[in-house]
Symmetry: C2
Subunit: 348 residues, 2 copies
C-alpha cells in the first residue's frame, strides 16, 4: 500500500535541494512512498530531471510563494495562503496526502497546521514532540514549544500523545511516563504539575506513570516518555543542544592544540566517530506535531538530505501505525476514567 | 582583614572529611580566612588534630544534631533547631561569622536561611545562582530552583542580583543581561517574561539588557547574566549536567571498545584532560543563595575537598566585595526608576 506525503519543497535553509535529495533517499529505503512536492516548478524540475527513479513517484504542485523563516505565524497565515507550506498542509486536509513534511518556519507551520487541520477529538492543543538520545534508551519528549502556558489537562493530553507514539511507532509495549519537575518528591513543583500528577494517577496510564522526574532523568533515560509544558521543554531542548555543541567544540579544540594532540585525534578517530554517529542530530531529525487532525512533521531548518529523509520516515511511520486514531481512542479512555470520580464527587 | 566563615561540618555525602580537607585547602590559598566549624566534636577533633595549620584558624562549635539529606525543609526548620546547619546560619545572623557554607540538603538550607536571615531590603525572594561554563564566557545563571512560580517583579530582582554579582565578584564592569525565553522575538513567551522585559527596559539596567535569549544562548555565552524562574532554571541546569554526563560517558565507552580505541585513548589523553579540567564541576562548585540578609553558599552534596574549598572561596568573595550592600543599592535604584513612570501614569 502506498503512502502519499506532501513535501513543502521550499522550506528550510538549503531548500529545495535537500528536499529533493532527501525524498530520493527516503524512496530508496521505502518504495511504497509517493510524494506531492509543492513549490517552484522552475527550480524543482531540473533537480527532478536528474533523478528519474524519484521523478516517477512525484506529483508536482506549482506555487511561487514561500513562507520565509523570519515571518510571524499570524502573517504567514494571512499572507501565505498560496505558499508551498500552506498548500502542503491543505493537501493533507483534502486527502491528497496522508502527511506533510516541512523544514520551514516552525511557528508558521504550527499556526497554519492548527488552522487548517484543527485538533484531534479530545485534544485541546497540539504539541511538538521529538526523540532525545538518553543513556539507557531514547526518550519521547514533549511539548517542545507549541504551548508556553499549560494547565494540567494540557499536560495529560501531551502524556497520552507521547505514550501512544512510543507504543505505536517505537513499538514499546508499555512505555513508562514521567512528568518533568524540580524534584521527585510529591510536594515539589507548582500547582499545575501536581494536579497533572494526581490526574494521571486516576487514569488508565497510572500503572506506567513513574511520577516526577528531573532534568537529568531525561538524558539518563529513566522513562520512555517525558512530559512538560512548552516553555520548559523548549528551553530544555536548546540547553541540551547547546551543551552538546559546547562539549564537542571544546573536544575539537583540545585535539587541535599541538602536534601531539593532533596525533591523538588521528588515533582516537574510530572512537570519536562512534560517538558522532550515536548523537548525529540528523538521525533524530523530525519533530512530530502531535494532536493535529492530520500528520505533520517538522524537519530541522538547517538539516541536510539525510536529515530530511529521516523526517519523511517519521511521517510515514506515524501514518502507517495509525497514530492519530490511537491517540483519539486513548484520550477518550482517559477522559472516561477521569470523569468517573468527579461524577461521584458531584453526586455526593 | 580576616573573614570568618561558618561551616556546616556535617552536611554533604562525605562530611565531615571533605569539609575539614576543603577548609585546609582554602586556608592554604587565603590566609585571611577563619572558620567557625559546627558539628560533632568527636568526629572533628581527630581530623583537625592532623592539620595543625588549619586547627589554629578554627573555632569549634559542638552539636550532635544533623539535617539529613532527605528531610523536608519544614521538618528541618522545626526539628533541626540544634543542627549543624542551623547553628552555622545562626552564626551569620548573630555576627559570629560573615558567611555560611554547607554541602547539606538544599531545600532545608534555603528554608532555614530564609527563616533566620530574612531577605535584603527590596528583595521579596532569594534565588539560587550558579556559574555555567559557556563558549565565549561563563554565565551567571539564576534562579536555579528556589522559586517555582515567579512574577515579573521576582525576575527583575533576580536580574539585579545577577548583575551585581557579575559586577562585584566577577569584575565585569558592565555585565550584559538576558531573559530566558522560547524565542528571541518580543512577542514570544508568556505574560510574565514579557512584563519583566518591559520593566527592565524602563530600569537603569536597560542599556545592558539584551532582551530575550534561548536555552542554547547560555552555553554559547551570549550574555553575562541569564535570568529565569526557578522551575525552568532547575530543569535547564539538570539537563545541562545530564547531557554533559551522557556525552562524556559515551566518549569513555567509545574509547574502551577494543585494543585500537584503547590505544587511541592513551594518545588522546592530553586533549581529554584539558577538556575535563575546563568542565570540572568542582571548579564551578558553590551555588550562591542571593538576596538573603546574609551570605550563604551551597556546595554540591557529592563534592570532594577541592569542590568544598571552592565553595568557601565563593563565600569569601561575596563577603569581600560587599555584594549584599551592592544588591540593596542597585535594587533601590531600579525601584525608584520603575515607580517614576507609573506615578506619571496614575496622574494622567
Amino acid at each position: 500500500m502506498s503512502i502519499a506525503i506532501a513535501l513543502d519543497a521550499m522550506g528550510g535553509d538549503a531548500a529545495p535541494g535537500i528536499v529533493v535529495d532527501g525524498a530520493a533517499m527516503a524512496i530508496a529505503r521505502n518504495a511504497e512512498l509517493r510524494f506531492l512536492m509543492v513549490g517552484d516548478e522552475a527550480k524543482l524540475l531540473p533537480l527532478l530531471a536528474r533523478r528519474p527513479e524519484l521523478r516517477r513517484a512525484v506529483e508536482l504542485r506549482h506555487t511561487p510563494d514561500v513562507v520565509t523563516s523570519d515571518v510571524k505565524p499570524s502573517v504567514a497565515l494571512r499572507q501565505g495562503r498560496n505558499s508551498s507550506m500552506r498548500l502542503a498542509i491543505n493537501a493533507v486536509k483534502d486527502g491528497d496526502a496522508a502527511a506533510a513534511v516541512s523544514a520551514g518556519n516552525t511557528g508558521a507551520l504550527m499556526g497554519i497546521a492548527k488552522f487548517v487541520l484543527k485538533t484531534l477529538p479530545g485534544i485541546d492543543r497540539p504539541a511538538i514532540c521529538a526523540i532525545m538520545p538518553g543513556k539507557q534508551r531514547s526518550v519521547v519528549f514533549l511539548d517542545l514549544g507549541a504551548n508556553v502556558d499549560c494547565d494540567a489537562e494540557n499536560l495529560i493530553q501531551f502524556a497520552v500523545m507521547g505514550v501512544v507514539y512510543a507504543r505505536a511507532v517505537l513499538g514499546i509495549e508499555r512505555p513508562t511516563l514521567g512528568l518533568l519537575n524540580v524534584g521527585t518528591e510529591d510536594l515539589k513543583g507548582g500547582d499545575v504539575v501536581r494536579e497533572a500528577a494526581a490526574m494521571l494517577r486516576a487514569s488508565p496510564l497510572a500503572a506506567d506513570f513513574k511520577g516526577f522526574i528531573e532534568g537529568n532523568d531525561i538524558t539518563n533515560g529513566e522513562v520512555d516518555v517525558a512530559v512538560t509544558d512548552g516553555f520548559t521543554g523548549n528551553v530544555a531542548l536548546k540547553v541540551a543542544e547547546g551543551t552538546a555543541q559546547l562539549l564537542t567544540g571544546a573536544l575539537r579544540e583540545g585535539f587541535s592544540r599541538n602536534l601531539f594532540t593532533k596525533l591523538g585525534y588521528l588515533v582516537a578517530r574510530p572512537a570519536l566517530r562512534s560517538l558522532r554517529e550515536r548523537f548525529d542530530p540528523r538521525m533524530h531529525n523530525g519533530a512530530m506535531f502531535l494532536g493535529l487532525g492530520g500528520v505533520v512533521v517538522k524537519s530541522h531548518g538547517g538539516t541536510d538530505a539525510l536529515g530530511f529523509s529521516n523526517a519523511i520516515r517519521v511521517a510515514a511511520d506515524l501514518v502507517a501505525k495509525g497514530t492519530n486514531d490511537r491517540i483519539t481512542e486513548e484520550m477518550s479512555a482517559v477522559h472516561s476514567a477521569l470523569e468517573q470520580p468527579s461524577a461521584e464527587a458531584a453526586a455526593s
